[in-house]
Amino acid sequence: MLYRETGQFKTDYAADQQLFPIRQDRVAIVALLVFAFAGVPLAAATPGLAVAIDFNYWFSGVLIPFLIFSLAALGLNILTGYAGLLSLGTAAFMAVGAFAAYNFELRVPGMPMLMSFILAGGVAAVVGIVFGLPSLRIRGFYLAVATLAAQFFVVWALTKFGWFSNYSTSGVITAQKIAVFGWAIDTPVKRYLLVLAIVCVLALAAKNMVRGAAGRAWMAVRDMDVAAQVVGIPIMRTKLLAFAISSFYCGVAGALYAFAYLGTVEPAGFELDLSFRILFMIIIGGVGSILGSFLGAAFIVLLPIFLDLSANAIERSFGLTLPSGLVSNLTLIIFGALIVFFLSVEPLGLARLWQIAKEKLRLWPFPH
């Protein structure tokens, strides 16, 4: 309905291949970016609003984790959604990123923050490749189990070897203050903007990869590896590349997780449970979809908050006290139920639902 594509014809492939071929989409995305980069911070700066809404909470408690998880989900989606390799070790690669960044900052004097983030991603990528090696021989959940090995080993190693955490007890690290080009990132808003910028850049890069040769190779291997090999796609390199890129994204996400979100993390904070939550994000958001990674992250981040709020509301309004752990257990139940629901009803997740809606809008008023 809102789409008016008549007259939007393409006279060259560049235009036909562009990220958002439909004008209305381009407008929308620009609007969204403007809102995220300018609108939100400005709102936060507006005294009136700042009173009404607790922006610090929204930034540190909602937006920043949402963005960081989106990034991690993006990474996992590249591996699982596009290359079809299920990984349960996402959290481990995040941990690697977090500790790597910490150590770069700690041990390399004058190391630029962004640089150590990138390097952290690099280190994660290397670890990813190492744990990806089994994927060359084993498939399906045998591989998933292999990634579990990564999960446990990494967490164990980070706890056991004090060097990683600069010999703090039980491997707790406290991230250094962030500064980019001498600009101190010391307020929630600034941290939000930094994360937002990084996520946008990496998301764009991811989109470019998945719609390019790399993405096609990944999907080919996912859909039918024999055929992929026959058309000349090097299976081994393709899979390892997927692991590397995926881990890079998770690594950066991990670094941000430590530096821009929590500030203080310990290896135990990157337990299997976190890996699962990120897996859920892509299942609910949409396997094999960049957009899905964001939708899923938003969903998983917002649901508990929503439950909490409503629980409080109930308690306040009815003056009763709900059993402790109710919300967390409800969250577990709902997550579990949703996973089963999406897998059986809409395996391509929220992203697919959005896509269907969009198609309807484009054909409006006709159904098909």
Binding site: R4, T6, G7, K10, T11, D12, D16, W364, P365, F366
Partner: protein, 650 residues
């Protein structure tokens, strides 16, 4: 250089000079709209022209062009004109045998064909047309092993041309210099109903003059877009695509293939559009079918807003007053929810003007487009007059007329009621048919259209029928059966109608009801019926038809000329008129005389004022058996209206 623009080649030079980088031609190919600017188009034409010259194409030679709308086919026509030759576009769906006559009649020596299919047809005719020495093809697919020496690819031809041009740099310009406005620009063959097609020779002057008028009339500029999907051999495409783009400098867009026209239409979103009624009809049908698949809510919304549009849409489109603010708001809302999206999906969003012509268009159809804001207009004309004799002007569109004569066009109504036209656009002659030419164009230079018509109060031309079919009632008032029949047939319930009245003192009619429509209507009123004959004899159905007839009468009363020929009495036939029973032609035109003889008893009954009449007829059933059907047909009076009074009211 090209200060004078009195021939198409000179227009091309001019366009290439003043807007070298604007797109001149697009074609959907390899997934995108390949584009050529005017400068590039000129080079393509240069190559083709020089190539043809190198191959021995001389002034006055004729170049046949056959295939779907393709850039290089248009450019080939231009190339021929550059060389002082005459392009002869042919219908791409004609079979080899049909081509034979034209190829001979126009002494075709050179031909440009789109693909293997067309090449085969041409080659088939080579024995009968020894003159045909050169055949060029656009698409080499499947032709690589054709040994015939006549065959050359357009690529090869252009290569030749570039080489030739590099050796004779002045040649191209010189050839254009030699051309004059009174040279033939094109020969278009009209598919005559009887006998062989006649070649209509039109000069540069005539076409360009007409094109200029049209461009001025609706204010076309180089910003406009048009989709070329009509046969190149049809005057409509030559004038409205080729000629106008050269005059106005806008871009021609060639669809990927005939199958993809609707998609391509949506992508390009032309700013003006020309199609015969059937095209608009098919689009509308498609809309109605697709919308029925939609959910209940959507359907309700759609129909509600379409209702509104029918009420106020056209008034708003014509920018007239008299629409309440509420309706205007609602219409705006409808535009957001229905009309806009609908036009978008159909590819009509950017349409500024849409033309239709050639045959009468039904009011429902016409209103549908206008009510959703597509400025659809009717025009009248024929190949011999470069189409445009008259056209609706934006803002004063009246369905039942074809608008006022175009600037520079004189229209005169002969005593016989025939429409005579004199204009710069009138053809020079029928190719090689002085006799036919003499018949068609009188000494004063008026072209005899063969159509009967008259001017209404506002001076809008109204075409009623073929002149030869128009008769008069005993009281001398005009009687145009086809006009009446069409009016009746515009009602969904009326399938066929046959009107009598020539030389009699009143008009009577046979009606054939439309089985699906009326059946449907009956079911909604849960009327039981066993079959066509039964349904046709139902009193309720008679009433339904009577309403239709009386509506027609009311309309007729509204104009002086035809007010006399209102339908007094009618009956509903007990069987459907059928080509198998010789009652219709194969193209479903009623054979009035034959029917009159066959059902003489009924006709007499109509005129003898009887209430009913028994009839028995032989008919052929689907399974081929023949049998007799008999029925006792009721005859009804229809209310007629006093012409004068209705006029005042209107």
């Amino acid at each position: 250089m090209a200060e004078s623009t009195d021939t198409f080649p000179r227009l091309l030079l001019r366009q290439a000079e003043i807007r070298p980088d604007r797109p001149a031609m697009r074609e959907k190919d390899l997934g995108i709209w390949q584009t050529w600017t005017w400068a590039q188009a000129l080079e393509e034409v240069r190559a083709l022209a020089c190539g043809l010259a190198a191959q021995g194409f001389r002034r006055g030679d004729r170049l046949a062009v056959i295939g779907d709308n393709r850039p290089r086919l248009y450019w080939s026509m231009m190339a021929a004109q550059v060389l002082g030759g005459v392009p002869v576009p042919l219908y791409q769906d004609a079979v080899a045998a049909e081509l034979a006559f034209v190829l001979q009649d126009a002494d075709i020596g050179f031909a440009v064909a789109e693909d293997q299919e067309q090449v085969d047809k041409l080659l088939e005719n080579v024995p009968r047309c020894p003159k045909l020495k050169h055949i060029y093809f656009e698409d080499a697919r499947g032709l690589r092993h054709y040994a015939q020496e006549q065959l050359t690819s357009l690529d090869a031809l252009q290569a030749l041309g570039r080489d030739f041009a590099s050796r004779n740099p002045e040649f191209f310009a010189a050839e254009i210099g030699k051309g004059g406005p009174d040279d033939d620009a094109v020969i278009l063959y009209t598919s005559g109903t009887t006998g062989n097609p006649k070649g209509v020779a039109q000069t540069h002057a005539a076409l360009i003059a007409t094109a200029r008028v049209l461009v001025a009339f609706d204010g076309f500029s180089d910003q406009d877009e048009v989709l070329c999907y009509l046969p190149m051999a049809w005057v409509g495409d030559f004038l409205y695509s080729y000629a106008q783009s050269l005059v106005a400098g806008f871009c021609l867009n060639c669809p990927e293939s005939p199958e993809t026209v609707m998609t391509d239409l949506r992508e390009i979103g032309p700013t003006y559009y020309f199609g015969p009624p059937r095209v608009y009809e098919s689009i509308l049908t498609q809309v109605m079918i697709r919308i029925e698949d939609a959910g209940w809510l959507k359907r309700r919304m759609f129909h509600a807003f379409m209702g509104l549009a029918k009420r106020v849409g056209m008034t708003i489109l014509d920018g007239k007053a008299g629409v309440s603010l509420r309706d205007r708001v609602l219409y705006a809302l409808g535009n957001l929810l229905v009309y806009g999206p609908l036009k978008n999906v159909l590819g009509l969003s950017r349409i500024r003007v849409a033309y239709t012509g050639g045959e009468a268009i039904g009011p429902d159809l016409f209103d549908f487009y206008r009510s959703i804001g597509v400025n659809l207009k009717q025009l009248y004309g024929m190949t011999e007059t470069c189409v445009t004799v008259s056209m609706h002007a934006s803002g004063e569109v009246k369905l039942e007329t074809v608008g006022r004569p175009m600037p520079g066009v004189e229209v005169r109504i002969a005593d016989s009621g025939e429409v005579l036209v004199r204009s710069p656009g009138v053809m020079r002659e029928y190719h090689k048919r002085p006799d036919a030419t003499r018949e068609a164009i009188d000494p004063e230079g008026f072209f005899h259209t063969g159509d009967a018509g008259f001017f209404d109060a506002e001076g809008h031309l109204k075409i009623i029928d073929r002149a030869k079919d128009v008769g008069r009632l005993a009281d001398g008032s005009l009687f145009a059966p086809k006009y009446l029949e069409n009016k009746l047939k515009f009602f969904p319930y009326v399938k066929e109608a046959v009107c009598f009245g020539d030389g009699r003192d009143e008009v009577c009619a046979f009606i054939n009801i439309d089985m699906p429509a009326v059946g449907n209507w009956a079911e909604r009123r849960n009327l039981a019926y066993s079959g066509y004959a039964d349904l046709a004899s139902q009193p309720a159905v008679y009433e339904l038809v009577r309403e239709c007839v009386e509506k027609v009468n009311r309309d007729l009363a509204a104009d002086a000329a035809l007010g006399g020929s209102q339908i007094r009495r009618f009956l509903i036939l007990h069987k459907e008129l059928d080509a198998d029973d010789g009652e219709l032609t194969r193209t479903r035109k009623v054979r009035r005389r034959h029917i009159a003889e066959k059902y003489a008893t009924l006709v007499d009954a109509l005129y003898s004022g009887r209430e009913s009449c028994f009839v028995e007829t032989q008919m052929r059933f689907e399974d081929g058996r023949t049998g007799a059907v008999s029925a006792d047909l009721r005859i009804l009076e229809a209310r007629t209206y006093d012409v004068a009074r209705e006029r005042k009211a209107a």
